[in-house]
């Protein structure tokens, strides 16, 4: 069996199966836990507000740091937006990727020019490298970083780089690069539910709950 055939067939199918299994497992395990509410009295003077509203505010408010922390967190925040938006453009805006989704779920949408996606890809690679360097240079970040952080970075970085190499036919024959690109995505999908990449789903829950608790205690959301 050729490498490309293996990548497009068994490797990708197994990876998607593991991805679905893992994501459903983690979400059900989390959402099926009982919500016991907050037993303490709300802080005096706090205007009663629904938990959904507080939770939603918590999600939205944390999209930008508090003024006090803007200076310290500016690079991580802006750089985070750059590679997250970059990844979204690459994954959902590139024609061949849309075909992948169409084949999988039957839905498709308009694609962006390939050259634009390549440019975004280069920017995203730069941004991801900057994120890694920042993590290594910043002492507190480096101290709290674990294998999970570095491996999650690697499996995110690899598909972007291999995709760009495949587009440019750099380093090997196109079919080999394409196979390596697909295999790197397979690795991404397998790792996704069990590592920090799961924040794609969990960030809303964690921010929401934090928002509710903070409001209850009278803190500014």
């Amino acid at each position: 069996m050729e490498l490309l055939e293996f990548a497009r067939g068994p490797a990708m199918n197994v990876a998607m199966t593991v991805f679905i299994f893992g994501v459903v497992w983690r979400l059900v395990a989390l959402l099926a836990l009982p919500y016991r509410g907050i037993k303490s009295r709300p802080r005096e003077g706090v205007i009663p507000e629904g938990e959904i509203s507080s939770g939603f505010k918590g999600v939205v408010r944390r999209m930008w740091p508090y003024p006090t922390f803007v200076k310290a967190a500016l690079f991580s925040t802006v750089n985070g937006y750059v590679f997250h938006i970059g990844l979204a453009i690459i994954v959902f805006g590139f024609g061949p990727h849309i075909l992948f989704f169409k084949n999988l779920i039957g839905l498709s949408w308009g694609n962006l020019p390939n050259n634009l996606v390549y440019a975004v890809g280069v920017l995203t690679v730069g941004s991801l490298v900057a994120a890694l360097v920042h993590r290594l240079v910043d002492l507190p970040k480096r101290l709290i970083s674990t294998f999970n952080d570095y491996f999650s970075w690697l499996v995110t970085f690899a598909p972007v780089v291999t995709g760009l190499l495949a587009s440019a036919h750099l380093g090997a024959r196109y079919e080999t690069l394409l196979a390596v690109h697909i295999l790197s995505i397979a690795l991404f999908l397998i790792w996704f539910p069990f590592g920090k990449l799961m924040h794609s789903f969990l960030f809303a829950f964690s921010r929401g709950v934090t928002g509710i608790r903070m409001k209850h205690r009278g803190a500014q959301i």
Binding site: N13, M16, T17, I20, L27, A29, L99, Y174, E175, L178
Partner: protein, 359 residues
């Protein structure tokens, strides 16, 4: 015509001008991506060349490769057969049959021992001792081994000979294999394609005649001059790919405007061949220009590459059932995890309550 006569003598006798001969040499050098100085070398070498004995074996094939060769634009078949090579054995083209045909093969082998070229089109069945294809009472396997034994080189013409081709497609009932899987001790050139580009066949043979050696090959044994780049790299529709402009169906506006056929399953990005540059029928057109995506016919196992109309970026097979099972299993395991966590929580709270009572 004497076999001792050189090609130059023969051409002079036929009234072919030196200018026309040089033109052909330049054309050959050009399509083989050789430097301009090679024109002189080719012209001189070919002029001195004596007729090359060629034995053409056809096994599990459809005769499409011979059809392709007979439509060679330059040099013409007439040039090739009567001027360049001595085609001593070819099932389809030879006039004789039966024992006379087999005698011609044996005579050519004996008279040109160690010098003749064996051209093979078609795969060889090896299952059940190769009984699925026989010629003159011999299995293809036996005939190949017998003929190649004293050959100078072997040229596998067409994807069936080069990689097994359609006979080898799943489930491969005859156990078809490529020539390279049988012949290990001779120089071997693969000229793949279903059929191969005629100029790739004749150009390669001309190179061997001119330089007395095989041209530079890729990792699949194909001449790099013809198989060095993908169809996609040289496709005139490539700018549409870069702009993200794809035909969605064979009769939509995109198709009419000549947009990229990637979404319709074109395998150009993974097909190494020269269709987009040399084209077919004297440079008239090629499949993509005619509105259909490339099938990747010059690549191994192209028949089993997941469907001609399935885009390259899609996964092969279906994960529908597996995905549903995975989701169900995930939900069950997740619910089990949550149940254990609940029990743990309740026990913890109960312990706390008990401790409070004790205090």
């Amino acid at each position: 015509m004497s076999d001792d006569a050189t090609l130059g003598d023969m051409l002079a006798k036929r009234g072919v001008s030196r200018r026309a001969f040089l033109k052909y040499a330049a054309y050959t050098a050009s399509i083989m991506a050789l430097p301009a100085t090679s024109t002189k070398v080719i012209a001189q070498a070919l002029a001195k060349a004596r007729r090359q004995s060629v034995i053409w074996l056809s096994f599990q094939e459809c005769t499409g490769c011979t059809e392709s060769l007979t439509r060679s634009f330059s040099p013409t078949l007439e040039d090739l057969i009567f001027d360049f090579i001595s085609l001593d054995y070819h099932h389809t083209l030879q006039a004789v049959s039966g024992d006379a045909a087999e005698n011609a093969r044996h005579t050519a082998m004996a008279e040109n021992k160690g010098k003749y070229i064996v051209v093979v089109d078609g795969s060889v069945p090896i299952k059940d001792d190769g009984i699925y294809s026989t010629i003159a009472g011999m299995t293809n396997l036996d005939m190949l081994n017998e003929t190649v034994k004293d050959a100078f080189a072997v040229v596998s013409v067409g994807t069936c000979a080069a990689f097994g081709g359609i006979p080898r497609a799943k489930p491969n009932p005859t156990g078809a294999v490529a020539i390279s899987e049988i012949i290990k001790d001779k120089p071997l050139i693969n000229i793949s394609g279903c059929p191969p580009i005629p100029e790739a066949i004749t150009g390669t043979l001309s190179y061997v005649l001119s330089f007395g050696k095989i041209p530079e090959l890729d990792h699949l044994g194909r001449p790099k001059a013809f198989f060095g780049e993908t169809i996609h790299d040289r496709c005139y529709r490539r700018p549409f790919y870069e702009r993200g402009m794809f035909a969605k169906s064979f009769d939509d506006e995109g198709a009419r405007n000549g947009w990229c056929l990637y979404e319709l399953g074109c395998k150009g990005p993974v097909a190494y061949n020269t269709c987009a540059t040399l084209k077919w029928n004297g440079g008239t057109s090629f499949p993509i220009q005619s509105g259909h995506g490339c099938l990747g016919c010059s690549e191994p196992d192209f028949w089993d590459m997941g469907g001609f109309y399935k885009p390259l970026s899609t996964s092969l097979g279906s994960v529908g059932t597996a995905a549903a099972a995975a989701a169900a299993a995930g939900a069950i395991v997740g619910a089990g995890s949550a149940m254990l966590a609940r029990r743990h929580q309740e026990n913890y709270l109960k312990d706390l309550a008990d401790k409070d009572e004790e205090i």
